[in-house]
C-alpha cells in the first residue's frame, strides 16, 4: 500500500496526540531543572495525576478530573521538594523514592476507589475541539487544530514558559539559581524559595500530563499506566537543551517515533513492533551522545540551595 494524504494526516495528528503528555511533563521538568533541581519523581507525579483525573472525572466530569490531576501532581512534587530541597537529600534517590511512593499509593487507592473490576471505559473524557477553517488546512490542520483542549494547553505553555524564563525578573532569578545558588543569593534572590516554586509548578505540569493521558488518550486508569513517560520527559528536556522550543521539538520527535508504528501497521509492513517501542529511547541515547557536547546543563543541577 502506498502512502496517501489521509495517512499523513493521521500520522501527524497521532504524533501530536502522543507528544502532548510528554510535552507537558517535559516543560514542567525543564522549569525545575532550570532552577537546579532534577526531579525523577515526575514519573510518580504523572501517575498520581492520572489516578486523580480518573477519580475526578468519575465524580465531577472531565474538567474536575483535569483540575484534580494538577493538584495531585503538585502534592507528589511537594513530597519530593521537602526531602530533596528542604532536607537537601540526594535528588536522584529522592525522586526514585517519590516515584515508588506513587506506584504504591496509586495502585492501592485505585483498587479502593474502583474495586478490582477497575474504572472501565465509562469515564467522561475530553473530546477533540475542532477549530473551524484552520482544521481544514491540509496536514497541519488535523494535527494542530482538531485536538483535545489539553493539546492546546500544552502548545500555549511553550511560549509562556519561554516568556517566563527569558523575559521576566523571576525567570531570570530562577535561571541564576540553577547556575549558581550562591551568586543568586548574594544578589538577593531567595534561592530555596525559587527551587521550591519551580519544582511544585513542575509537579503540577506532570500531574496535568497524567490527566491528559487518562482524559484525552486512554480513557481509563491502569496500574503503572505512565510506563516510564515521566522518565522519557527527563530525556526530552536534555534533548531540547533546556529550552522551551527545543523541548517542543524533542517531544514531537518522540511522538512521531511512536506514531510511526501505526503507519507501518497500516502499510502492512512486517517489522517487529518492539522496534518502534525502542526507537525513541535509542534515538535519545544517540542524540544525547551527539548533541550534549555542545550544550550545557544548568551548572548547579542536582544541588539544593542553602
Amino acid at each position: 500500500m502506498m502512502l496517501d494524504a489521509g495517512m499523513i494526516d493521521g500520522f501527524l495528528a497521532a504524533s501530536v496526540r502522543v507528544a502532548t503528555p510528554l510535552l507537558l511533563a517535559a516543560l514542567g521538568e525543564m522549569l525545575a531543572e532550570r532552577g537546579g533541581v532534577i526531579n525523577l519523581g515526575i514519573e510518580g507525579a504523572m501517575l498520581a495525576g492520572a489516578l486523580a483525573a480518573a477519580v475526578g472525572a468519575a465524580t465531577g466530569g472531565a474538567w474536575t478530573g483535569l483540575g484534580a490531576s494538577a493538584v495531585a501532581g503538585l502534592a507528589l512534587a511537594l513530597v519530593f521538594a521537602l526531602v530533596a530541597i528542604g532536607a537537601k537529600a540526594d535528588q536522584i534517590i529522592s525522586g526514585t523514592a517519590t516515584t515508588l511512593l506513587a506506584v504504591g499509593l496509586t495502585g492501592a487507592l485505585y483498587q479502593a476507589a474502583f474495586g478490582s473490576a477497575g474504572a472501565g471505559l465509562s469515564l467522561p473524557t475530553l473530546a477533540p475541539v475542532r477549530i473551524p477553517a484552520l482544521a481544514d488546512v491540509p496536514f497541519i490542520g488535523p494535527a494542530l487544530f482538531d485536538q483535545p483542549v489539553t493539546t492546546y494547553l500544552a502548545l500555549v505553555a511553550v511560549p509562556l514558559c519561554w516568556w517566563f524564563l527569558f523575559r521576566t525578573r523571576t525567570g531570570l532569578a530562577l535561571r541564576a539559581v540553577g547556575e549558581s545558588p550562591e551568586h543568586a543569593r548574594a544578589a538577593g534572590v531567595n534561592a530555596r524559595r525559587m527551587q521550591f516554586g519551580a519544582t511544585l509548578v513542575g509537579g503540577a505540569f506532570a500531574g496535568l500530563a497524567g490527566g491528559t493521558l487518562v482524559l484525552a488518550q486512554v480513557g481509563t486508569f491502569a496500574e503503572r499506566m505512565t510506563a516510564g513517560r515521566g522518565f522519557i520527559a527527563i530525556a526530552i528536556v536534555v534533548l531540547g537543551r533546556w529550552h522551551p522550543v527545543g523541548v517542543l521539538g524533542a517531544a514531537l520527535l518522540f511522538g512521531a517515533a511512536t506514531a510511526l508504528q501505526f503507519v507501518f501497521q497500516a502499510m502492512g509492513l512486517a517489522v517487529p513492533y518492539q522496534l518502534f517501542l525502542v526507537l525513541p529511547y535509542v534515538l535519545t541515547l544517540l542524540l544525547l551522545a551527539g548533541l550534549v557536547g555542545g550544550v550545557k546543563a544548568p551548572a548547579a543541577l542536582g544541588r539544593a540551595a542553602e
Binding site: S94, A97, T98, G104, G107, A108, F231, V238, Y281, G290
Partner: protein
C-alpha cells in the same frame, strides 16, 4: 544500626496508617504479611530468601557503583540482559554435565549485564552523558528486547506462548530438598563477602572510595584515573545485576518471560541505601525486603490488600534513611565546626 531499624520501622508504620486510612485492617494485613514471610520454614526459604537473592546481587552492584560516585539505576535492564543471555546459552547445554553448564550460564549472564551497561559507561567516558539518564533509558530497551525475544528467536517450540522453552535439567541450579531455595543464595552470600573483602582489604577498593568521595582530590593528589575507575565500577555494577538475572532464570523460572522481575532493580536501590554501603548490611536488608515482597503476595491472597502497596513502605524507608543521614551529617558538622 539503630537508625536503619528506625527507618524500616517508619516504612512499616506509614504502610499501616495507609491501610487503616484506605479501609483495611492494618493488624490483619501486616499479620498476613508476617506469616507469608516468616510463618514457616517453607515460607522463609522459598518465599523470603528466594526473593532476597536477586535483591542482594543487584544491591551489591549498586553499592560498588555508589562507592565510586556512580548512580546505576538501570539494574532492571541489566537483570533482563543477564536473563536473556542465560536463557539463550542454557537452552543449548542439554547434554552438558551440570558442573560445567551452570558456571557457563552464570558467566554468560554476568558478562551480559556488564555488556548492557557498557553503553552508558562508554557514553559517560566519551561524551560525558550522565549515567543516571542512560542507564534508566536502557531499562525500557531491555524490556522491549525481552518481549521481542519471547515472541521471536527464543519463543517456546510450540510458538503459542510469549515465553521461552524450559532450561534443560543440567543447566538448572540445585535446590535445597523440600524447599524452592536454590544455590543462588550461596552465590549471593559469596559475592557479598567478596565485595566486603575488596572494599576493606584491597587497593582498588580504596581507590574506588577515593574517587567517590572526592573526584578532584583523587585525580590531583592521588593521581588516579578517575573516569576510568568510575566506568569500571559501573561495569561491575551491571555485571552483578546481570548475574542476578541469570541466577533467577537458572534457579527460579527456568525460562524467560516478560515481567520476570517485579521491579527488583528499583527495590535493590532501597536495599542498598538501607545497608548504607555495607556489603554485610546488604545481606540483612535484602532479606528484610525479600520478606516484604514475599509477605505482600500472602497479604493480597489472604486479606485482599493489593500487594503493590508495599512500595509505599519501600519509598518511606528510603526517604527515612535519606532524612536520617542528612540530619546526622548536619549535626556532625555543627560539632566539628
Amino acid at each position: 544500626m539503630k537508625r536503619q531499624v528506625a527507618s524500616f520501622g517508619a516504612g512499616l508504620a506509614v504502610l499501616a496508617i495507609f491501610f487503616a486510612a484506605s479501609g483495611h485492617d492494618p493488624v490483619a494485613a501486616l499479620g498476613a504479611m508476617y506469616r507469608g514471610a516468616f510463618g514457616s520454614w517453607y515460607a522463609f526459604t522459598s518465599g523470603t530468601l528466594v526473593r532476597a537473592i536477586p535483591l542482594m546481587l543487584i544491591a551489591l552492584g549498586f553499592t560498588v557503583g555508589l562507592r565510586a560516585g556512580v548512580l546505576n539505576i538501570g539494574g532492571e535492564g541489566q537483570f533482563y540482559a543477564g536473563a536473556i543471555a542465560a536463557t539463550w546459552i542454557g537452552l543449548k547445554l542439554g547434554g552438558w554435565p551440570t558442573i560445567a553448564a551452570i558456571p557457563l550460564v552464570l558467566a554468560v549472564a554476568f558478562g551480559a549485564g556488564a555488556l548492557w551497561v557498557a553503553v552508558p559507561a562508554w557514553l559517560r567516558l566519551r561524551f560525558g552523558v550522565l549515567e543516571v539518564i542512560s542507564t534508566l533509558l536502557l531499562n525500557f530497551v531491555a524490556e522491549a528486547l525481552v518481549s521481542f525475544m519471547v515472541q521471536g528467536p527464543l519463543q517456546e517450540s510450540q510458538h503459542i506462548y510469549p515465553q521461552s522453552d524450559q532450561l534443560p535439567l543440567s543447566a538448572r541450579l540445585p535446590v535445597l530438598p523440600g524447599t524452592r531455595l536454590h544455590l543462588g543464595i550461596m552465590i549471593a552470600l559469596g559475592c557479598a563477602v567478596l565485595v566486603w573483602y575488596v572494599f576493606r582489604r584491597t587497593m582498588i577498593g580504596f581507590e574506588l572510595r577515593a574517587v567517590g568521595r572526592g573526584p578532584i582530590a583523587a585525580r590531583v593528589t592521588g593521581g588516579l584515573p578517575v573516569q576510568r575507575l568510575a566506568a569500571m565500577a559501573l561495569l561491575v555494577s551491571g555485571a552483578f545485576a546481570g548475574l542476578a538475572g541469570g541466577v533467577e532464570v537458572g534457579g527460579v523460572s527456568y525460562a524467560l518471560y516478560p515481567n520476570l522481575s517485579p521491579g527488583y532493580g528499583f527495590t535493590a536501590i532501597a536495599v542498598a541505601l538501607l545497608a548504607r554501603q555495607s556489603p554485610v548490611g546488604i545481606i540483612a536488608s535484602a532479606i528484610l525486603f525479600g520478606a516484604l515482597e514475599a509477605g505482600a503476595g500472602a497479604m493480597q491472597r489472604d486479606v485482599g490488600v493489593p500487594a503493590v502497596a508495599v512500595y509505599v513502605a519501600e519509598a518511606v524507608t528510603i526517604i527515612a534513611v535519606l532524612l536520617a543521614d542528612t540530619f546526622s551529617v548536619r549535626r556532625r558538622n555543627v560539632v566539628t565546626a
